[in-house]
C-alpha cells in the first residue's frame, strides 16, 4: 500500500491490460488471477504509473507483462529483494510481487522470510500450484510427499512447507490464503492485502492443468463447502480441540499459527490469517533520513569532504620533479 495520496483517476480493468498476448496454457489458473487483479486494480484508486509489479521466473512470473503498469520480470527467486529496493527508494509506489511456489519457497525462500520479518511495503502474490510449471513438471517445496514427477519417478521424499505456517514463523504481519477459482474471495483478499501497510503475503491456490491438474479439485465445486473454512474476523474456529473466535489482528501469532495447521486434519482455511500493524522497514528508513536532515540539516558535500582532521598548505609551492628522489638505494 502506498501512503501518498494522489487524485484518484477513474480507471477500468481494461486500462490495466497491456498489449501483450497472454501466454499461459489453456485452462491455467493464472488466467483467473490475472482477470481478478486487472479488475481489482482500479479499486486501489491509484494512478497506473504509481504501481509496480515485480516477478521472478516461472509461469506465474509472466504476470507483469500483462499489466499496463511499471513492471519487472526479474530472475528466479529474487523478486522480493528487488521490490525491497523499490519500496525503500520510493514511498509513492504501490509495489507488488508475483511469484510461484518454486520461485518464492525454493530458490527464493530466504528473501521471502526476510521480507516478511522486515515488513517492507509490498504485496506478495504467491501462486501455489504445487509444481514447477515452467520447467515442465518437477515437484516443488509445496508438493505432497510421494509425488511422482519427472525428477521423482518413484515419488518425492520431502515434507512440504505450509506457506502460511512458514510466514507466521517468520514474523509476518499479514498472511492470507485464497484460491484461483473463487473470484469474489480472491478479490476480497487482494483488497485486504493491498490495504495493509507492510509485507502482505497472499498464497493463491492455483491449478496447473498441465503438470498438476486437480491439485485443489477438492476445494472447488460441491465439496468445497465441507472442505473450506472461510476465515472471517469473529468466526468460531476449532483446532486441536480448542475453540475460539478468529481475530487476525491479534498480536500474538500463536492462534493464527494453530489455524494454519488445520489442513493437517480435515478442513482448509482460506481468508486472512493475520493482519497486524508494525512499522515498515521502508517507512522507518525514510524517517531515519528525515531525522538526520532535521538534526543535521541536508548534507552539504563540501562540508563532508572538509570534515575530519584537515590541514592547510599555504601559498603555492612548486612540485619537485619526482625523479630527483628515490625511495631507497637503487638495487643495481
Amino acid at each position: 500500500m502506498t501512503t501518498v495520496d494522489l487524485p484518484a483517476p477513474t480507471l477500468t480493468a481494461k486500462d490495466f491490460s497491456s498489449d501483450q498476448e497472454v501466454r499461459w496454457c489453456p485452462g491455467c489458473g493464472d488466467y483467473a488471477v490475472l482477470k481478478a487483479v486487472q479488475s481489482f486494480l482500479p479499486d486501489l484508486g491509484l494512478r497506473r504509473e504509481n504501481i509496480v509489479f515485480v516477478s521472478g521466473i516461472g509461469c506465474s512470473s509472466r504476470f507483469p507483462y500483462y499489466l499496463d503498469t511499471y513492471g519487472m520480470h526479474s530472475i528466479h527467486g529474487r523478486a522480493p529483494s528487488i521490490a525491497t529496493g523499490i519500496a525503500t527508494a520510493r514511498e509513492d509506489l504501490s509495489v507488488w510481487v508475483v511469484t510461484g511456489d518454486g520461485d518464492a519457497l525454493s530458490i527464493g525462500g530466504n528473501h521471502l522470510i526476510h521480507a516478511l520479518r522486515r515488513n517492507v511495503n509490498m504485496t506478495i502474490l504467491l501462486f501455489n500450484n504445487r509444481i514447477y510449471g515452467l520447467t515442465k513438471g518437477q515437484y516443488s517445496p509445496t508438493s505432497e510427499v510421494g509425488k511422482v514427477t519427472k525428477s521423482t519417478p518413484v515419488g518425492s521424499l520431502d515434507h512440504p512447507f505450509n506457506p502460511v505456517s512458514l510466514a507466521l514463523g517468520a514474523e509476518a504481519t499479514f498472511v492470507a490464503r485464497t484460491i484461483d477459482s473463487d473470484r469474489k474471495h480472491l478479490t476480497a483478499v487482494l483488497a485486504a492485502a493491498a490495504a495493509h501497510r507492510g509485507t502482505s503475503l497472499v498464497e493463491i491456490y492455483q491449478n496447473c492443468p498441465i503438470f498438476n491438474d486437480g491439485a485443489f479439485e477438492d476445494l472447488k465445486g460441491p465439496r468445497a463447502a465441507q472442505r473450506l473454512v472461510r476465515l472471517e474476523p469473529g468466526l468460531e474456529v476449532t483446532v486441536d480441540g480448542r475453540t475460539w473466535q478468529h481475530d487476525p489482528t491479534e498480536i500474538s501469532p500463536t492462534r493464527q499459527f494453530a489455524l494454519s495447521r488445520m489442513d493437517e486434519a480435515e478442513a482448509v482455511p482460506i481468508g486472512v490469517f493475520r493482519q497486524v500493524e508494525r512499522p515498515t522497514y521502508d517507512d522507518l528508513t525514510r524517517s531515519q533520513a528525515a531525522d538526520a536532515v532535521a538534526d543535521r540539516g541536508r548534507g552539504r558535500l563540501q562540508d563532508l569532504l572538509d570534515s575530519g582532521d584537515t590541514w592547510t598548505v599555504p601559498g603555492p609551492s612548486a612540485t619537485p620533479d619526482p625523479t630527483d628522489f628515490q625511495e631507497e638505494p637503487c638495487p643495481s
Binding site: Q20, M72, P80, A83, T88, T310
Partner: protein, 629 residues
C-alpha cells in the same frame, strides 16, 4: 635531551603489537601528526584475520606501517627503518622485514618466559646477540606507562593499556612532532570518560618527555614538509574516499543513492561509512545476503535511484546472476569489489588483484560490463564518480575494483572543490518517444540514443511511460526499441552485439592515456592497473635513478580499454605488466592487441615492494632485445 638532530628525507616506521594493544590507533595518530606537519605519506595497516587471536601469539599481531617523507611518495615503503614492537610476537613477526641497521624500540615488559614460549623463542632475543645488527632500544614501556598514570587510580590492566600512547609520545619526540593534535583527539574521543582521557594524555606526554629528558636516544630526527600544492588537505583511506565518491555521485547527479550491502571484509567499511550520511539522501540496506543486496540496488535503480552494491570477491561471485539481469535490463548500477586474497574464503584481510577476470567474465552468456579500477586510496573518490558517470550515462552496471590495500591504506588528500566536479546528467525520460504512425505516440523503453546506445530511463511515477523490462531477450535495437520479448534468432544476434558495442562506445568518452616517460625515449613500457600504481611508480623512479629509461602507463578503464591503448603498446619494444595475480591484465592485453606483454606477478597478499619490483623491471629494461626480423 638529544644531542643531535639529523635531517632525513624519508622514514618508514612500523608499530606492531597484540591486537588489543591499540597499534592501529597509534599509527593513525602518528600519521595525522605527520600529515599536519606537511609530510607526504602512505600507510599500510595489517590486521590479523581473527577478531582477537590469543594474546601474545604471532597470528594475534596487528601492525601499522607509515611512510612519511619530505617529497611525494608512492608507497607505504618496503622495509621499516623503525619498528616499535610491544611484545615478543610483534618482534618475531616483523623482524624479517627490517633492513640491517634499523631501529627497534621494544617494550620489554612482556618478554617473560611464558610469552617467549608462545612464539617459540628459546632464548630471550633481547638478551642474546640475535639483534646485534639492529639499533635496539629495550624499554619497559608498560612499566613506564603504569607509572605515568598512577595518579588516576586505574586498574593495573587499564593503566597498562595506555602504553600505546606512551609509545606514540616517544616516537613523536623522536621525529620532532607536536602531540597537541593527538591530545585534542584523545580529549574528544574520551570526552565521556575523563579519567581514561586524562590517563591517555598523561601517558602521551610522559612518552614525549621520556625522549626529551632521558638520554636513551642520542639522535632525534627531522623530516621536513614535502613541497605540495597549496590547499586544504586531510588524510583519507580508500574505503572512506570511495564512500565519499558515492555521496558525491549522488550530489552531482541529483540522484538519491541506495547502497545494498552484506558485510564482508574488506568492503564493510563502505557500508559503515555510508550509513552515517542519511542526511545526503543516502539509504543503506544491510541485506540478508549478497544477492538480496544487489537485488535491492537493481530495484532502487529501476525506481530512479542510483543503486550501488559493495562487496569483495566471494560476494561478487554470488552477485553474478543478478549482474546479468542489470546488463540485460540496462539499468545503472555500481558494483564495488574491494578485492581480497582468494580463491574461496582465501585470505580475507589481505590484498590481491585477482578478481579482474571475474569482473569481466563472471556471468553467463555474453554479458559485457564496464570495469574500472582505483589506483590509490585518494583516487577511490574520483573512481567512484567515474563509475557512476558511466553507469548513469550508459544505463549499465559498472564494476568498480578496489582492493584491501587501497581500502585500509591512507594518504593525504587535497580536498577537491565541489564546484569544480563535473555534473552527471540522469536525463530521465519524461514523455513518449515513439511515433506509432497513426498520429499517436507511445513509450519504447529500448529506443536508444543513437550515439551512446543508451536506452531511456523511465522511472515509475512518470505517467504514460509504463513499461515492463526483464531478463529475457527482447527486441531492443536502435530500430526496434519496443523491448518486447523476442525469440527471433537474428534479433538475438543483433542484441548481443549491440550490448557489446554500447560498452565499447564508452571508450569514445575517455581522455587520451597519459604515458609517463620523462626521457621520451624509453623502449620498455610498464603497464598496470589498480593499486599497483604506487609501487610501479616508485620502482620506475628507481630504475630511472639508476640511469635507465622506462615509461609507465596506468589503466583506470579495464573494459573497454581506452581507444589509444593499442597504439601506445605497439610503440614500445617491450611491455611489462606487474600484477598482484597470475597475470590477468597481461592476458587481456595479449588477447586484444596481440602484444607480447610480459607479466610480473606476486600473490602474497601484500603490495609489491618497490625495491623488489624495481629489480624485476631492471632485468626487463637491461635485457638484450631479441633480434627482430
Amino acid at each position: 635531551m638529544a644531542s643531535t638532530v639529523t635531517e632525513l628525507d624519508r622514514v618508514v616506521i612500523r608499530f606492531a603489537g597484540d591486537s588489543g594493544d591499540g597499534m592501529q590507533l597509534t599509527g593513525d595518530r602518528f600519521t595525522q601528526e605527520a600529515a599536519v606537519f606537511g609530510n607526504d605519506l602512505s600507510t599500510l595497516p595489517n590486521f590479523p584475520a581473527e577478531i582477537r587471536a590469543p594474546q601474545g601469539t604471532i597470528p594475534g599481531v596487528s601492525s601499522f606501517q607509515l611512510h612519511f617523507a619530505n617529497y611525494d611518495i608512492l608507497t607505504p615503503g618496503d622495509r621499516p627503518d623503525v619498528l616499535v614492537a610491544m611484545n615478543p610476537a610483534a618482534l618475531k613477526a616483523n623482524l624479517a622485514d627490517l633492513p640491517r641497521g634499523a631501529t627497534i624500540i621494544v617494550d620489554t615488559h612482556d618478554f617473560t618466559r611464558r610469552n617467549l614460549d608462545k612464539v617459540g623463542y628459546d632464548a630471550n632475543p633481547l638478551e642474546d646477540d640475535s639483534l646485534a645488527e639492529f639499533a635496539v632500544h629495550a624499554l619497559d614501556l608498560t612499566g613506564l606507562s603504569v607509572e605515568a598514570v598512577k595518579e588516576f587510580g586505574l586498574s593495573r590492566k587499564d593503566a597498562a593499556r595506555s602504553k600505546n600512547m606512551f609509545a606514540l609520545g616517544l616516537v613523536s619526540w623522536l621525529y620532532g612532532r607536536d602531540v597537541a593534535g593527538s591530545e585534542e583527539h584523545l580529549a574528544a574521543k574520551f570526552a565521556g570518560r575523563p579519567t581514561i582521557r586524562d590517563a591517555n594524555v598523561a601517558a602521551l606526554r610522559a612518552g614525549w618527555n621520556f625522549g626529551e629528558t632521558t638520554e636513551t636516544f642520542a639522535v632525534s630526527y627531522v623530516v621536513k614538509p614535502a613541497p605540495v600544492a597549496a590547499g586544504r588537505y586531510r588524510n583519507i583511506t580508500g574505503n572512506t574516499a570511495l564512500s565519499y565518491g558515492l555521496v558525491a555521485a549522488g550530489e552531482l547527479s541529483g540522484l538519491p543513492v541506495l547502497l545494498g550491502a552484506y558485510p564482508i571484509t574488506p568492503a564493510s567499511d563502505i557500508l559503515h561509512e555510508l550509513s552515517k550520511h542519511k542526511n545526503f539522501g543516502i539509504a543503506t540496506f544491510q541485506a540478508e545476503d549478497e544477492i538480496a543486496a544487489i537485488g535491492a540496488a537493481v530495484g532502487a535503480s529501476f525506481a530512479g535511484t542510483l543503486g550501488v552494491t559493495a562487496t569483495s570477491g566471494p560476494g561478487v561471485a554470488l552477485k553474478s546472476e543478478a549482474m546479468g539481469l542489470a546488463v540485460m535490463t540496462e539499468l545503472p548500477l555500481v558494483v564495488v569489489d574491494v578485492q581480497r586474497g582468494g580463491p574461496s574464503t582465501g585470505l580475507p584481510t589481505k590484498t590481491e588483484q585477482s578478481d579482474l577476470l571475474q569482473a569481466l567474465h563472471g556471468r553467463n552468456g555474453e554479458s559485457p560490463m564496464p570495469v574500472i579500477a582505483a589506483q590509490s586510496p585518494t583516487d577511490c573518490f574520483a573512481a567512484a564518480i567515474e563509475a557512476a558517470r558511466i553507469a548513469i550515462t550508459y544505463r549499465t552496471p559498472v564494476m568498480l575494483l578496489s582492493d584491501g590495500y587501497l581500502a585500509n591504506g591512507s594518504e593525504p588528500w587535497a580536498i577537491p572543490d565541489v564546484a569544480g566536479l563535473p555534473r552527471i546528467e540522469p536525463g530521465f525520460a519524461t514523455e513518449p518517444n515513439h511515433d506509432k504512425g497513426d498520429g499517436t505516440t507511445d513509450f519504447w523503453p529500448y529506443l536508444r540514443d543513437v550515439e551512446t546506445l543508451a536506452r531511456p530511463w523511465a522511472v515509475p511515477g512518470t505517467p504514460g511511460l509504463e513499461h515492463r523490462i526483464g531478463g529475457l531477450e527482447k527486441a531492443g535495437t536502435v530500430e526496434t526499441g519496443h523491448g518486447n520479448i523476442s525469440y527471433d534468432p537474428d534479433n538475438h544476434d543483433r542484441m548481443v552485439r549491440l550490448r557489446q558495442e554500447k560498452v565499447r562506445r564508452i571508450a569514445d568518452s575517455l581522455p587520451p592515456l597519459e604515458v609517463d616517460d620523462p626521457s621520451g625515449e624509453a623502449e620498455v613500457l610498464v603497464i598496470g592497473w589498480g593499486s599497483t600504481y604506487g609501487p610501479i611508480g616508485a620502482a620506475c623512479r628507481r630504475v630511472r635513478a639508476a640511469g635507465h629509461r622506462v615509461a609507465q602507463v596506468h589503466l583506470r578503464h579495464l573494459n573497454p580499454f581506452p581507444n589509444d591503448l593499442g597504439e601506445i603498446l605497439r610503440r614500445y619494444d617491450r611491455v611489462v605488466c606487474p600484477e598482484m595475480n597470475l597475470g590477468q591484465l597481461s592476458r587481456l592485453l595479449r588477447a586484444e592487441y596481440l602484444v607480447d606483454v610480459r607479466p610480473i606477478t606476486t600473490v602474497r597478499g601484500l603490495p609489491f615492494g618497490a625495491e623488489a619490483l624495481s629489480a624485476d623491471l631492471l632485468a626487463h629494461v637491461t635485457e638484450t632485445p631479441e633480434p627482430t626480423a
